[in-house]
């Protein structure tokens, strides 16, 4: 029995070596499929992260009217903090503004003009984790409605563009992933099918000498598992290299500082799925050759 099991496992491995051409094509196509879907999984996993990076950069500057007291401004800033979509709101009093101006421009405006012309203001940062998208116009309207506000400065069109593209991507990605997975499953199934069709003679001969279904099918399933494992061995370093390479380029040649991450849990689940599909399609195709013909 042990000899039989060893024989079947070795047959699976030998089948790959005996059919180098078809095995190489299967391995190549399977690797392309796995790499493509893995990259989509990486993109999907990192979408939220990239968005959070951009949202961290959103800044709204709220300038209060000249005559406002610090106490009233503090109270208004508290109200702003409670607005949906607002993460933080920091009050900048007249003297803080003066100090910031001096730090930035190295000039004491109080000495030049004899009075402090800078208004009381607040810097508002928006929520980074809001999944439904940030409605900037609504937030601005809510900020203005707290009263005593002279002016609100924000990057309206840029924020709108980022949020619009995020929502578009978020809504379409499930269809895109589904479609890509379907295409790749068909590719995997057909590759396995083609590889097995070329070995119809072997299956027929085994059938004629009285081999059981298990004896005939096991080497093909082992072959499927081995081709999947070889593809994973080939694709994993390529995937890590692509992600690391992308991060290196982004870090060194752009002002964008967010790094994408490779979530091995999702990738491992996907690898498992590929292995199951490969083994099942090997089993089904080889089984279809076992029917008694007339």
């Amino acid at each position: 029995m042990i000899d039989k099991i060893i024989y079947l496992v070795l047959e699976g491995l030998k089948n790959i070596l005996r059919n180098k051409g078809t095995s190489f094509i299967s391995l190549f196509l399977l690797s392309i499929s796995i790499f493509t879907i893995s990259m989509i999984i990486v993109a999907n996993d990192n979408t939220q992260k990239v968005l959070q990076y951009f949202r961290g950069k959103y800044k709204i500057e709220v300038f209060f009217k000249d005559n406002i007291s610090d106490q009233r401004a503090t109270s208004l800033v508290s109200k702003i903090r409670k607005i949906s979509g607002v993460r933080t709101a920091t009050l900048i009093k007249k003297e803080d503004a003066l100090r910031i101006f001096k730090d930035q421009f190295d000039e004491d405006i109080l000495k030049v003009l004899g009075y402090n012309p800078l208004p009381v203001s607040a810097v508002v940062n928006l929520s980074r984790t809001k999944k439904s998208g940030i409605k900037i116009d609504q937030i601005i309207r809510n900020i203005k409605s707290v009263g005593s506000i002279e002016k609100v400065i924000y990057q309206g069109s840029l924020i709108k563009k980022i949020e619009k593209n995020y929502l578009r991507f978020k809504n379409k990605i499930p269809y895109l992933v589904g479609f890509m997975i379907l295409i790749n499953i068909l590719l995997i199934v057909n590759t396995i099918r083609l590889s097995l069709v070329s070995r119809k003679q072997l299956i027929n001969n085994l059938k004629l000498i009285g081999a059981s279904k298990t004896f005939i099918l096991t080497p093909f399933m082992i072959e499927g598992i081995l081709i999947s494992i070889f593809s994973f061995i080939f694709v994993t370093p390529l995937l890590i290299g692509t992600v690391e390479g992308f991060n290196y380029l982004v870090l060194n040649f752009s002002s964008f500082k967010a790094q994408i991450e490779l979530d091995f849990t999702s990738i491992m689940w996907f690898y498992l799925l590929v292995m199951v599909i490969t083994v099942l399609s090997s089993y089904r195709t080889a089984s279809s050759f076992l029917k008694i013909k007339a």
């Binding site: 003679q201 009285g210 059981s212």
Partner: protein, 217 residues
């Protein structure tokens, strides 16, 4: 051992065999003669359950051909050694791997497989061709390898379908002589051929099949 009762079978494109009645006992050596396309291969395929009869009853080693599951079909075939006209050797395996295959199917331990392959190869005179691939052998050598694969599992029945079809007269005579030797050990043999001169005068039963019908000669 083998019993055909009113067996008929036709292919989708016509022809086949009609109303066959035949009974072959244990340890017998029978010849099946007939011209090309007369139904010899169809009859053989019916015996090893590669084809299912349209009507009638076929019993091989106690198994009826109707509604036979895959596992039962495998069981029947394990008891049959088949020699095909086109050898059916696997071109991507050497002689040793081709011949040892039925023993792995039967679950023999590896050490026994080595010995039995050597014995079979010696019997068919191919002991020096163990590591050759089928396309490195002549037609006669491939036919002998095919015979070695059939006899290695010591089957109770050998079906030889035109085993001398690609052999010269001397090699053909030697092969029939070899089958006779195997038959002396108690193995039932049914050999199909269209070469009457090869089998006449041997004192063995000859069945003639013509246009799908069978009669004893």
């Amino acid at each position: 051992m083998i019993e055909f009762k009113d067996i008929s079978f036709s292919y989708k494109k016509g022809k086949g065999v009609t109303n066959l009645n035949l009974k072959l006992g244990d340890g017998e050596f029978n010849f099946l003669i007939g011209p090309t396309g007369s139904g010899k291969t169809t009859l053989m395929r019916l015996i090893y359950f590669d084809l299912v009869p349209d009507s009638g009853t076929l019993i091989v080693n106690g198994f009826k051909s109707k509604n036979l599951s895959f596992s039962k079909t495998s069981k029947v075939r394990k008891e049959i050694g088949m020699v095909f006209q086109d050898y059916k050797l696997l071109n991507d395996r050497n002689v040793y791997d081709n011949i040892s295959l039925p023993l792995y199917v039967l679950g023999y331990p590896k050490n026994q497989i080595y010995d039995r392959v050597d014995e079979s190869l010696e019997l068919v005179g191919l002991q020096n061709k163990k590591h050759h691939f089928p396309d490195e052998l002549s037609g006669g050598e491939q036919q002998r390898a095919s015979l070695a694969r059939a006899i290695i599992k010591e089957p109770s029945l050998i079906l030889a379908d035109e085993p001398t079809g690609n052999l010269d007269p001397v090699a053909s005579f030697e092969l029939v002589r070899l089958l006779e030797t195997i038959n002396e050990t108690g193995t039932t043999i049914l050999m199909a051929t269209h070469n009457y001169s090869l089998i006449k005068g041997r004192g063995l039963p000859i069945y003639e099949i013509k246009d799908g019908t069978l009669k004893q000669r």
